[in-house]
Symmetry: C2
Subunit: 354 residues, 2 copies
């Protein structure tokens, strides 16, 4: 049931559009807020009031004109993004008013559109915010990337960069569950302490520390068998130089390079990189979680079970301030300012009161 206030709100939707493609770091000039008036849902459509908006590194790629792994956002369109919200009007037999749902609702306060691809959430089972993180795309990325691409074996050393992040934190904890040595790389002593003390990694190395290379070497005395790659840059250089023969790399992201405006200055490190792959017989596997829907059932069963058993923890960094705080929060994500799964609270979480 909608209050008269909500009915009035429905007609006005604030949203962030991609007005122009960013060069380097995205700004609010690239991503302004505009207001639109929404119609009532047509047959088959739903109207969703967004509660939590997920911010994820992959979104930077969608802002570019160049080829990425998914269709880019067209200039003038609302920015894409997963979100959790509440159905406030439905002309779809799948959903009724009051249902909590997850979908690719975008950077906006309301989603009006097709119900296809929208998934119902049960707030009694897990907080609806987890659908954006540990029980959503980031968690499944960790699960599929580590298990299917990394193929870790008991006793091996697994290294993950961006270890305190939404994906990295899950990677290391699954590695521990599978009997591996889990070593994280993160930015700053606070994040590293969290990765070891709260998430239970065997070690975590601060890439901002001046002795990073020596500390990393000491943390992987038997070398690296599996590397879950989220960042690229000098972190990746350090890990690749310690890979063991027959090591596997799950290539998930390259956040250090997402704002690159061209090829960095030389020397050209590609030949050296390829020699390393050859001489150590490494395998590097780029992957995107959306290619693996067949693993969704296994993922949900295993990870929700591990959370229930206390074997797997997660942390959310929920930014207040709604849509107005979104661009700045996204900038922080690209420079490592967030601590845990980054989520913007777009409106009050009514599922917690209920």
């Amino acid at each position: 049931m909608l209050t008269p206030d909500e009915r009035r709100e429905m007609t006005q939707n604030r949203r962030i559009i991609l007005a122009s493609r960013p060069v380097g770091m995205p700004t609010s000039a690239n991503l302004p807020i505009e207001t639109q008036t929404l119609a009532e849902p047509a047959e088959g459509q739903i109207l969703v009031k967004v509660i939590y908006l997920s911010l994820d590194p992959y979104m930077r790629g969608r802002m570019n004109a160049g080829r990425s792994y998914a269709a880019n956002v067209a200039e003038g369109d609302v920015m894409v993004g997963g979100a959790a919200g509440r159905v406030v009007a439905s002309k779809s037999p799948k959903f009724k008013e009051g249902d909590y749902v997850f979908g690719m609702f975008g950077w906006q306060e309301y989603y009006l559109g097709d119900a296809a691809g929208v998934r119902k959430l049960d707030p009694a089972q897990a907080p609806i915010s987890t659908s954006l993180g540990v029980l959503g795309m980031p968690g499944m990325t960790a699960y599929v990337g580590l298990l299917d691409k990394g193929q870790p074996k008991e006793g091996e050393t697994v290294v993950v960069s961006a270890a305190s992040g939404a994906v990295g934190g899950v990677v290391g904890q699954i590695a521990k569950i599978k009997g591996c040595r889990a070593v994280g790389i993160a930015g700053g002593p606070e994040k590293c302490a969290y990765v070891v003390d709260e998430l239970g990694f065997d070690a975590c190395v601060d890439y901002k520390a001046p002795d990073f290379l020596e500390a990393f070497k000491a943390a992987v005395p038997k070398g690296v068998d599996v590397y879950f790659e989220n960042v690229g840059g000098k972190v990746a250089d350090a890990v690749f130089s310690r890979m063991n023969d027959f090591g596997r790399v799950a290539l998930c992201g390259l956040i250090a390079h997402y704002n690159d405006t061209g090829a960095p200055e030389g020397p050209d490190n590609l030949p050296r990189f390829m020699f390393n792959l050859l001489s150590r017989r490494l395998s590097v596997n780029g992957f995107i979680v959306s290619d693996h829907p067949d693993r969704a059932g296994d993922f949900f069963r295993d990870v929700s079970g591990w959370i229930r058993d206390g074997q797997l923890r997660y942390r959310e960094d929920i930014v207040e301030g709604g849509l107005d705080a979104t661009v700045e929060a996204f900038q922080g994500l690209l420079t490592g300012r967030n601590f845990g799964k980054l989520i913007v609270k777009i409106s009050e979480d009514t599922s917690r009161a209920g």
Copy 2:
């Protein structure tokens, strides 16, 4: 039985040692010929008169001090290399005088040493020179790399660089046997004509031609699913830019870079390369055939069968001139001067007369 002449020869062995590690292209100053006097075989040893010496790109890596995929040659030691020859004296129960054998006999006229790892050849089944090429390490490299790492499926496009070479020629022919489109890349119109007309590839593109990029693009109208990488450099750049989503790269060699003396000048192409792996979900697999002895039986059965059926052809580039011609021939291998499997004839092939 040895003639008195051969007995006298036995005592004098000419061999090429690695006197100093080459910087860039190896020269005869790095690889001088020296003469040594050999003792009689001790218990368990054999003395082999080398007939054919194999020259292969991997040998350039063995000349370096840096880590490679196998133990490097120590300064002052004879250069490593596979060779076919005839047993002229044996104190091993495995071999008798007159046997034709293959082993890692090195760049020399005689091998005196252990019989372990030496394999008997049957000249009635196949010319003994094939033990260095199509039925030896290069052929098995093609077989394992294409089938196990490339995983080609019927109807897919397979590209191989150094396509007229000992490995590349076999790769493309196996791709055809498996129902794929086989596209080669080779240097010069003569080699390209051979690859298409004699080996039966669907197309071959000349990387030395000014319109290489356009010609390559035209040769792979449906993109590239499997790339068998032998060379690196601009050839690799062209192929990587045309890879299809979920493409597989079997990384076998990087001959364009073997004489690099450091990282080439920038820009740094590594970030762009990694983005490509990620956005197209490519898999790159470094491999060395010697890690896969379990496939030797399948390889020999399949490839010798295909040769017998006329489905698989090969070409040998046999250099006359013995040990004195070896260094120059090896230089030619690194610049693409050879045409077919490069072999140096060290002494007369007595198996052909027999």
